[in-house]
């Protein structure tokens, strides 16, 4: 199935948060991440968000999506019992915290 044939992240189909301010469903905030790379895969180990260190206990799932020329790697990770979604954009080399998964 060709992911390039339709990008579901097209802005007209992208979830738009209903309210401004802190929205755990759409944080999209830059974070610093410690990760190791093995066999062409990325394994994030911890991230720093608002000066607090979050140690990743488990990566529950990971997937990729192509947005234009960028390849975004998504990870759902558990830190201290809370589930987060973080992502790495290989075009901008940016890690971000996408959302807190309830």
């Amino acid at each position: 199935m060709n992911q390039n044939s339709f990008s579901p992240k097209a802005r007209w189909d992208r979830f738009e948060p209903d309210k401004a301010g802190f929205n755990p469903d759409a944080l999209n905030e830059r974070i610093n991440v410690l990760a190791y790379f093995e066999h062409a895969k990325i394994f994030p180990k911890s991230f720093n968000w608002h000066d607090k260190e979050y140690t990743i206990e488990k990566i529950t799932y990971n997937w990729q999506e192509r947005v234009g020329q960028a390849l975004i790697n998504y990870f759902s990770v558990i830190c201290a019992g809370q589930l987060y979604q973080i992502s790495f954009d290989n075009f901008t080399f940016r890690w971000q915290l996408d959302k807190i998964i309830q």
Partner: protein, 369 residues
Amino acid sequence: MIIHIDMDAFFASIEQAINPRLIGKPLVVGSRGSKMHTVVCAASYAAKRLGIHSGMSSRDAFKICPNLEFVRADQSKYIWTSSQIFKLLENFNLPLNYASIDEFQLDLPDSQNPVSLGKEIKQQIYSNFKITASVGIAKTWLLAKLASKIDKPDGLTLINDDNFKEILSKTALNKLCGMGGKNGQILMDQGLKTCWDLYLKLPGFFDNCGKFRETSGNSDEAIQKPKSMSHSYTLPMAQINPQVIFAWIRVLSEMVSGRLRQDNLVSATVHLWLNGPQIGNFGAQKTYLEATSDGYQIYLRTLKIMEKSRLKSPRIRAIGVTCSSLSQPSYNPLFSEEIRREELIKALDRINGKFGESTIFPAITILTR
């Protein structure tokens, strides 16, 4: 023999793999809109046991189960997982068919043990993705697909000469692929209740129906050209503002035209579908002499269809745009305005290709946000 692999509650299973808190709970995957104004795209097995199913309105689903878990659909996860499963299956070096986003078929030589291969496939899928699949094995893809649905979830069923009659006698006709709608109803009205009844009436049906088509890339016949391309969208609320409706039609026209250009195709026929509380389902199409892959032209053609329909400010809940009569482009623009338009479209495609779809977009579509 054909092995048919059918992922179990695919979208819901992926969401449960992501969030283990949802495992075992009634869960639905819905659109990105409001959870009370959407349609169930997928339901977990715990939700299905309560009578919740795909296509049901979320409002009805929450009436059945007020504590239902709801997750907004994110197609990138499902498309990626599907493509990874396909890659995993390619490693078996067998003719492979991509039947749908969550269904795959392998063509086995007689020398191979299909049951042990089916078990290995299920085990590899689970160990890589933590989601289960049901496998059906039979001589034809139709029977293999039927077999995959018998013992869901996480099932493995072989239909052979020994159990052929027993299984077909126990399976209602409308459970057979292609018999769920009007076709099946017509036959059932004529007294054919089970698949065995159909077999007695048409013994060759199960042998001849649907040859296996490989899509694993090596065969020249592997890639079938599409007959049509379409996109549809269900609005969060019924919409009466014509400008907003036109904006959504433009969005869908651009999405379809983008795919046409990607496959180097043009379309001569445009079909517009509208659904609303007053009009029910409305659909109409028109074929033009000049085929196009220009989203704006497709949009204008759908507006002409709407004009002729004489619909007066209906409330619209869902919209669909389909382009068919597809062909390779054979016309080179002659006039400067046409050439400029073509160059503009190519430039927009390059921008959106580099930075992501809809980085640059028609202004009217802002009304959809």
